[in-house]
């Protein structure tokens, strides 16, 4: 189908975009990369009255570093993250996961901020940001605030974004010596939305500590599985028994079925992706 009618404005700076967003009399929608919003508009699942196009706002397109963090502007495209030496060096989890995010032609347009703001339960980005202990920096006309990724994704397409607010940047702690990561997802076709996926990080010290295990495409949001993490933390080495104890906890997670797979399938696939991601992490 084709999208319904809408008005379209392309502000030339962030302040003008925030002014447009603050208009509460109209149903205003931000257009970022459009790789999810455009399909939703074509299906008429979304029919905004006004599209505010952030493409062209260079102040939201950057990848830079501080001593401890990598900061990514919300309008940074996946293709820019893929080729960034800063990302490859300091955020290896993002580097190994990016090729799984849709297809090349989608990654050439799609943005990190767009996927984060949409909070699709089957998308990789929310799970990655929680696993990476990222902070989401948002801005409205009233000012700026920061929210931990673990508190940002509230449910099905639901985030902590207030009305009149947009994502300005995402801040990710740099990977430290001894930290390791793994990522795995199962999809019907490479690049399609996952049927189940997981991102894992940990300090590969003796014993293992600070494990973070975040599943996606199994529930109504990305889920951090602390009960699974508890079985990994404290292990001197990853034994079959330790792994089995962790896998048993996966059964108790809050699974939701979707068009791709019912709950029992997702429960099975979650254990498969977990095992493979852990293998990658320990390699």
């Amino acid at each position: 189908m084709k999208a319904a009618e809408f008005d379209y404005l392309r502000p030339s700076n962030l302040g003008a975009a925030l002014d447009l967003l603050a208009n509460e009399s109209a149903d205003v929608q931000i257009l970022a990369g459009g790789q999810s919003l455009m399909p939703m508009m074509n299906f008429r699942l979304a029919q905004p009255e006004l599209l505010v196009d952030l493409n062209g706002l260079e102040e939201l397109q950057f990848i830079r570093q501080t001593d401890s963090h990598i900061q990514i502007g919300s309008m940074t495209r996946y293709c820019e993250l893929e080729t960034s030496s800063l990302i490859q060096q300091h955020v290896p989890l993002l580097s190994i996961a990016l090729p799984h995010i849709a297809h090349s032609a989608i990654r050439n347009r799609g943005t990190i901020g767009g996927s984060t703001a949409l909070a699709d339960p089957a998308a990789e980005m929310p799970a990655l940001l929680i696993a990476l202990n990222a902070t989401i920096v948002t801005r409205s006309r009233e000012g700026q605030r920061s929210t931990e990724a673990s508190k940002f994704f509230l449910g099905l397409y639901e985030t902590a974004l207030d009305s009149g607010e947009l994502i300005e940047s995402i801040s990710i702690p740099k990977s430290t010596t001894g930290s390791a990561c793994g990522f795995y997802e199962l999809a019907r076709r490479h690049g399609d939305y996952a049927m189940a996926g997981v991102a894992v990080t940990a300090q590969r010290t003796d014993p293992i500590n600070d494990a973070r295990v975040v599943f996606f495409a199994i529930s109504d949001r990305a889920i951090r599985a602390e009960t699974v993490e508890n079985h990994l933390n404290g292990l001197s080495e990853l034994t079959e028994e330790g792994l089995e104890n962790a896998r048993k906890e996966i059964d108790k997670l809050d699974f939701h079925g979707d068009l791709n797979a019912e709950v029992s399938t997702k429960r099975h696939l979650a254990k498969v992706v977990f095992k493979r991601a852990i293998e990658e992490m320990m390699r």
């Binding site: 084709k2 379209y8 392309r10 790789q35 455009m38």
Partner: protein, 159 residues
């Protein structure tokens, strides 16, 4: 009344100005207003890849970008790719290896394959399949498409 906006673009090297309805996506604009019907419309939600075309040097989905967003951009469609060396080789190779049957996916498939080859992609079948994963072909089973791409990388499409 349909809301419209004027845009100026360069399409296959030719400057074009037009008034486009805001809700019109780029591939519909190219097909219906400009008359370039080489880019195909399949699913209209970014899954099938039939509308893949180039905007400012990047291959994108023509159905997931508004025509109005292309204002000031340089667009290359399958009609314009023919001037590029690797694209011409790919077209010959597709013909030679029977890499198309109905041809509906072919413009998008060529665009994605061109992106892979021009970026220096290797003759690695798994990597080629991964790169072409965003383009559906319902006729060939992909084997012959991968054959055609490998041939261009290895020998420029020649025997």
């Amino acid at each position: 009344m349909t809301k419209s906006q004027n845009i100026s673009v360069i399409i296959n090297g030719e400057p074009i100005s037009a008034s486009v309805p805001l809700r019109t996506n780029l591939v519909d604009f190219l097909r219906n207003q400009v008359g370039l019907t080489g880019s195909h419309v399949g699913c209209e939600h970014g899954v099938c890849g039939a509308c893949t075309l180039e905007v400012d040097g990047s291959m994108i989905r023509g159905c997931l970008m508004l025509a109005v967003q292309a204002d000031g951009a340089e667009i290359t469609t399958i009609e314009g790719f023919a001037d590029r060396e690797k694209a011409a080789q790919l077209q010959l190779s597709f013909q030679k290896y029977n890499a198309l049957q109905c041809g509906y996916c072919t413009p998008g498939m060529l665009a994605s394959a061109l992106e892979y080859i021009e970026a220096g992609g290797k003759a690695d079948r798994a990597a080629i399949r991964q790169h072409l994963s965003g383009n559906y072909c319902r006729c060939t089973g992909y084997q012959s498409i991968v054959d055609a791409v490998v041939a261009v990388i290895e020998q420029g499409g020649k025997q």
